[in-house]
Symmetry: C2
Subunit: 266 residues, 2 copies
Amino acid sequence: MDNRPIGIFDSGVGGLTVVKEVMKVLPRESIVYLGDTARVPYGTKSDQAIKRFSLENAEFLKKFNVKIIIVACNTASSIALPALRKKITVPVVGVIRPGAGKAIEATRNNRIGVIGTPMTIKSKAYEKEIKRLSGDKKVFSSPCSLFVQLAEEGWLDGRITLDIARKYLKPLTGKKIDTLVLGCTHYPLLKNVISKAVGRGVRIVDSAGAVAEEVKGILGRTGKLAINRKKPSYKFFATDAVEQFAGIGARFLGKKINNLRRADYV
Amino acid sequence: MDNRPIGIFDSGVGGLTVVKEVMKVLPRESIVYLGDTARVPYGTKSDQAIKRFSLENAEFLKKFNVKIIIVACNTASSIALPALRKKITVPVVGVIRPGAGKAIEATRNNRIGVIGTPMTIKSKAYEKEIKRLSGDKKVFSSPCSLFVQLAEEGWLDGRITLDIARKYLKPLTGKKIDTLVLGCTHYPLLKNVISKAVGRGVRIVDSAGAVAEEVKGILGRTGKLAINRKKPSYKFFATDAVEQFAGIGARFLGKKINNLRRADYV
């Protein structure tokens, strides 16, 4: 048993979709969440910057005596995991492997599509992971730069968003994929439109639920699940624009965000 | 005569539209340009963050012994000028006043539209400046969050961009404006689409040329124009993703960017 909190960070509000799943799958666990809103987005920045930002975020979470860190951001998971694991002493879990595993379970015809930020796609992190776990899969990918801003702007459906989704997904729709990985925590908000653009027959997979299950497994195997807690504590931090974070974040978390403060190390 | 360089900073590549005009209007002047690509965009971040980032950028430029600093970023000009002028000993010029002045000259019916990032519009910087300079003007404004990303993505025309422009400009098209201020350095790249969306009769005004003229005036009045230089020097810095900056930046500057390095203070 281990009542220390789980630490979760993301480049902004998107990782709250992971928080939501962790709350559901691990209802006794306390959580400290950090959104790096001062430097969002990560998906168009360099390797070097993404690694440095990720390390700073993890160091911030470590101050809360977290027992495990979830990197909810796909871009940071794609680029910074080895650097984080070298420097940070608690276990660090990314969203790529859980998402890749879920896609492999979901596909019937072994043709998987992946969408994400330019950096996530450029890293080929999902492609490598899917092929490592299951060599016979074909992976097709496409970067969707504008999706993050569309989600943050709240343009979750409507014709413009559908047109943009169609344009980004066009490289995939001819490939007969039967499964599509949403390789960015913002994208679940656009799920309806993405599904319409890619075709209703394609199964849409995201990492949020899968990473929560993975963390449950790790904590269970290592005897670190929280117990005997009446009420877990939830703490939220953003490196900038806390009010805006609360407003947009409620949409991602599916409920009001309490106990939110600014983290001032950036 | 003063052969020290002019310092120019922006949140990213957009300010290169200002550099282009300064090169044209002041061909003898050396320039040091800084794009804060590690923290771009500014337009959705807090006052506090924008002020701090701007001060750090100005301090960086001061190391090059600049004689004047141009804040090419509309968001930073809207929010951070007083803080900059308090802390920085060389003259600091923003883009709001020049842009406001140009709009006042351009309008015939005294009805002016302004578009910009959410923070620029929220600050009402253009509105206040236009009314301060000329009390009888009516100003209508609308934030256009996605335009920066559209410009950086290179979606400069086409139906999607036109649809987005129409959606953002809808609050203005009923107001009988005859002049529209592009209150963000990225927007000149979308000028064609914006003009189509707002109506061909509306004059489109941006600050880049106006701020170059203003700086020429200031340097002339204070005896600080550069002279006797065969060839001015141009230095470019970005706080992240230097290669990407070079690629996208060439589109803004209208020519290849040489002498570009990473500024590593962020």
